[in-house]
């Protein structure tokens, strides 16, 4: 029936069927528009925080802190530089600085790159304070992550003040992991490929070898930056930095 004629007959107006479809389309479109607008502005913690701003901190450490901090001052591991092993590194920070420690491996496509990229983002917001932070990565897969592989991998994410640590043998790896309460294991999958499991925690260590804060995998760059900012404030002004100290024979900064 022709619609115009239909409406032109007033006595039928009240009897005409409602138009639920049209209302639904209107409501749906409005809802979609508002919903999309809201969704686009939503905060997704897995997204990288803006890197350009150097913000302060909110005064509260977001990572985990223990009543009795782990003591890792006794842990020494071979350090790889430019394709060769160059002395041993003790996992403590320089005086007045912090050391960020991570256990991972280079064939890890998801967890490790995500964590290291988050660290990179976190450092960006610290400005000059980032120079007081060193970053060390211990490979849990020393068979594949050799001195030719690990330094470059770590440097892809963090451009300076890095330490690529390769345990000489499994015992040395397990000793280090025990101190950090980290774990890892390598098994062979059904396809013959190594399957690596490892805890994805990142540790912040002071010059005395005390683990000040632990960040479980998934900690956002903003949270990391917040915690680092607080910890650096607590260290006080940078002084006497650089040079060999704290039992680390490998120089350079």
């Amino acid at each position: 029936m022709n619609r115009r004629n239909y409406l032109a007959r007033p006595q039928l107006r009240d009897e005409r069927p409602r138009r639920p479809v049209r209302s639904a389309v209107l409501v749906g479109t409005l809802a979609l528009g508002l919903g999309v607008g809201a969704a686009c502005g939503s905060d997704d913690p897995t997204k990288a925080a803006p890197s350009a701003e150097a913000v302060g901190n909110d005064g509260t450490i977001s990572g985990m802190q223990r009543d009795e901090p782990l003591d890792v001052s006794a842990i020494r591991l071979p350090e790889a530089v430019d394709g060769a092993t160059a002395g041993e590194f003790t996992t403590v920070a320089k005086p007045g600085g912090l050391l960020v420690m991570y256990f991972g491996y280079t064939n890890c496509p998801d967890v490790c790159p995500t964590t290291l990229a988050a660290l990179r983002q976190a450092y960006k917001g610290l400005g000059d304070d980032a120079k007081r932070i060193e970053t060390a990565m211990v490979t849990v897969d020393p068979a594949r992550d050799t001195a030719e592989v690990l330094p470059g991998y770590l440097a892809s994410f963090i451009s300076a003040r890095t330490h690529a640590l390769i345990p000489a043998d499994d015992a040395q790896l397990k000793t280090a992991e025990a101190a950090y309460l980290a774990t890892s294991s390598i098994t062979t999958g059904s396809d013959g490929q190594p399957e690596v499991a490892h805890s994805g925690t990142t540790y912040v260590v002071d010059e005395h070898g005390k683990v000040l804060v632990e960040w479980p995998f998934g900690t956002t760059p903003a949270a990391m930056r917040n915690d680092l900012s607080i910890l650096i404030d607590q260290l006080g002004p940078a002084g006497g930095a650089g040079g060999s100290a704290g039992g680390n024979a490998t120089g350079g900064s």
Binding site: P45, T106, P109, P113, G152, T183, S199, P216
Partner: protein
């Protein structure tokens, strides 16, 4: 007649809101123009896809995205051209069972504690402590495993994101460089396969 104009007006406003809703995201333009072919647009929507820039000496890569299916479906596999990688699998980062050598650990909080977590049950979020650590978090070892598929319940946006599901690219032919774009073909149980363009970036969009 007035009612008709009102209808059009509301429809225009609604569409305008939709179009401008993403106006703040300067990086979102790539998403809008590179997702979906016209024929499959109604069935499967893929957005926010990205692959991470390869670190030096890395052989494998990962791609992430958000998938919404209008009808119940399942992402069954993904593939790329050999010029990108030798093999592609869909993987999930999960807690490893039976991790040894943990002293005093009560397991990772917020993880759902499913040491026996097997393949998919539309797990959108592993709760990997994104909101910060509580208790004895960080103790649990994690590993990856291939999954047979990812369930896509109708209307739900399923995320493949760091720490969860990801499309794993094995044996990259060349390192993925930021600014590159790779093509990934997604295969579904019901919907037609779909080839998407995935930009390579240092971080999530």
């Amino acid at each position: 007649m007035t009612k008709f104009r009102t209808t059009i007006g509301v429809f225009v406003v609604g569409t305008a809101l939709f179009a401008t809703g993403c106006g703040d995201d300067s990086s979102s333009t790539a998403d809008e123009s590179t997702t979906t072919t016209a024929a499959e647009a109604a069935a499967i929507k893929v957005e926010g896809q990205w692959a991470r820039t390869s670190p030096a000496n890395a052989e494998h890569g990962a791609a992430y995205m958000m998938i919404t299916a209008t009808d119940d479906d399942m992402l069954t596999s993904a593939s790329v051209d050999a010029s990108v990688a030798a093999k592609v699998e869909i993987h999930e980062t999960v807690p490893a069972d039976g991790a040894t050598g943990m002293t005093g650990a009560t397991g990772m909080s917020g993880m759902g504690g499913d040491a026996e977590m097997t393949t998919t049950t539309a797990m959108h979020d592993h709760g990997m402590g994104e909101s910060g650590a509580t208790g004895s978090s960080g103790m649990g070892a994690m590993t990856m495993r291939p999954v047979d598929g990812i369930e896509l319940p109708a209307g739900e946006s399923v995320e493949l994101k760091p720490g969860g599901y990801h499309v794993m690219l094995f044996d990259l032919a060349e390192p993925l460089k930021a600014g590159d774009t790779i093509e990934v073909t997604l295969t579904f149980e019901k919907a037609d396969p779909m080839t998407i363009k995935v930009p390579v970036r240092d971080d999530a969009p």
